[in-house]
C-alpha cells in the first residue's frame, strides 16, 4: 500500500529499506548524525517536520515533529522542491547531477540547510554519501503525494 510524502510512514519506509541494505551501509562506514527534514507547504498550510537519527550503520529513530530534539542540521524547502528531488530519484533510481542533496542545498536554490553549529553542519558532508544513498532508497518506496498523484515511473531499475 502506498504511503504519502510527506509523512512519518514515508520515512519509516526509507528506514526499512535501509535495514534491508545492511551490508551496503556498513561498507559506507559509521553514520552518526541526527538531522531534521522540514517540508514547507506551498500555501499557508502547516509545515511537515521530521527528525531522522542515524547511529553506527542504522537509522535508529524516525519521528514526526521536532519535540525539542537536538539536530545537527535541518534540510528545509518548499514541497515543490522536495517533490522535484523525489520525482527525479524515482524516475532514475538515484539522483542525477541536478538533484543530489549537495547540489540542491549548496546555494540554497532548491533546498536550504539550517544549523546553529558549523560542526553539526559539517556532518552533512562527513556522511554525504550515506545520506545521499539513504534518500536514493526512495526510488523503491511506493508513495503518493497529498493530491493523490504518483512520482514518475522508473526509467531504469534502481541499482
Amino acid at each position: 500500500m502506498a504511503v504519502t510524502f510527506p509523512s512519518l510512514e514515508f520515512f519509516q519506509a526509507l528506514q526499512k529499506e535501509m535495514r534491508s541494505e545492511k551490508e551496503r551501509f556498513s561498507r559506507l562506514g559509521f553514520f552518526d548524525t541526527t538531522f531534521g527534514i522540514l517540508v514547507l507547504a506551498e500555501n499557508e498550510g502547516r509545515p511537515a517536520e521530521f527528525v531522522l537519527a542515524f547511529e553506527v550503520f542504522d537509522c535508529v529513530d524516525v519521528r514526526a515533529g521536532r519535540d525539542g530534539a537536538s539536530t545537527d542540521f535541518v534540510v528545509e524547502g518548499r514541497f515543490a522542491a522536495w517533490r522535484e528531488m523525489l520525482d527525479n530519484i524515482h524516475a532514475l533510481g538515484a539522483a542525477d547531477t541536478a538533484h543530489s542533496l549537495n547540489t540542491l542545498t549548496h546555494f540554497g536554490e532548491g533546498l536550504q540547510v539550517r544549523y546553529d553549529d558549523p560542526d553539526g553542519h559539517d556532518k552533512m558532508y562527513r556522511f554525504a554519501e550515506s545520506i545521499q544513498e539513504f534518500l536514493d532508497l526512495s526510488a523503491r518506496v511506493d508513495f503518493v503525494y497529498p493530491d493523490g498523484s504518483h512520482p514518475p515511473q522508473a526509467r531504469r531499475s534502481a541499482s
Binding site: L28, F107, P118, D119, D122
Partner: protein, 376 residues
Amino acid sequence: MSYLSTTDFAEDPAFVDRFRRTMKGDLDLSWLDEPRERVRCRPQNERRGLTFRDLDVGSYGFSEMPELIRQNRSFAPRGATMPPGLPDLQAEVNRKSEVWAYNVEGYYEEAMTRQWNATTDIPWRELAAIDLPEDIGKAYAQLLTFLTEVEMIATDVPAKWMGRLNADFFEVKNFIATQAMDEARHAEIFRKRALSTGWGLMRASAQNEFNLKFLRDADSFAEASLALHLQAEGMVLTLFRFSEYISPTDADKKLFRLVMQDEARHVGYGMQHLKWVLDHFPEKREVIHRHLDEAENFVFGGGYATEVMEPFIILSGKGLKKENIEQGIRITMAFQNKQTDEYFERLAKCGMPERRDRSRLWKMVELGKQAMGVAS
C-alpha cells in the same frame, strides 16, 4: 645510516652467552613479573565494536594523560612499563594541548570505517563512455590538476608530523595516519580522473604552491594544524561541495561526495583541536591570530592563480561564451563568499569570534560584497 648501535652484537660475549642460554631453554622470564594494571575493556556498543574510547581506562587511557609528557621519551606504548635504558627519541611535540582534540578517538574510528577505494568505488567504465566538450573537459582537467597538487601536500604535512609527536599521543598519531591515507587517495583519484578525461594533467600553479609551502613549513604542529585542518581544508571542503555542484557527470558527483566526507572529518578534527588549544593553552591565542594573518594573506594572494580561478568560472557557467562566463563569474563569486563565510563561522564557533574584526581577508571580502550589492 645516521644512527649506529654502540654495540657490535656478534662480538659481544654477554649478548652471545645470553642468546645461547635462551635457546637452550634457560629463559629469563623477568618480564612476567612486571607489576601490571589489569583492566577489562569491552565494547560499550556491540554494533560499533571495540573502540579506542572503550580502552580509555586507567593508565592506558587518554583522559588522565598529563598536559606535559615528561616520562615517556621512547616508543613505549602508553601504559607499558618502561625499563631503564629506553632511548630518548626526542619527540618534538610533548604537550598534549598542542595536538589533542575533543573526540579525536571518535574521528579515528569514523575514518577507519569510512575508507573507500579510488580504483573500485568509482564507475570508471561509465566515465570512459562520456566525452566532455573541449572547453568543459579542459577546465575540468585543470581543476583536477590543481586538486592533485593540493592533495599531495595535504598528504605530506600530516605524514611529516606523525613521527615528531610523542608516542603517548597514540590516538592523534593514528588519526593523522588516516588523514595521510585519505589525502593520498584524493591525490590518486584526482590524477586518475584528470587522465581519464582524455585531456591529462594541465598546468601546475605557482601561486598555489607558495600557499602549499606555507602549510608544509609551519613552525609547530598547532600552527600546521590550524592552517591545514581548519583554514585550508575548511576552504577546500567548501570547494569540494562546489565541485560536486558543478560536476559534469553523476560519477563525478559521487567522486566529490566521497572526498568531501574525508575532508569534513579533517575539518572536524581541526575545529575540535582549536577548541582544545583555546581551552587548555589560552596564551596561544595571539600566536594563532598571527599565523592566520599570514595564512589568509596567502588565501587572498590565491586570486593571482588564474589557472585555478578560471576553470571554476567555465565549469559553473558551463562554457566559454560571453553569457556562460558572466553566469560563471556570478556563481564563482557566490562560492568564494560562501567559502570565507563558513571559514569565519567555524573560527567563531571554536572561540575566536574576534577574528572577523582583525582579519584583512574578512574586510576585503566584505568590501567586495558591498561592491556587488550582496548582503553579508
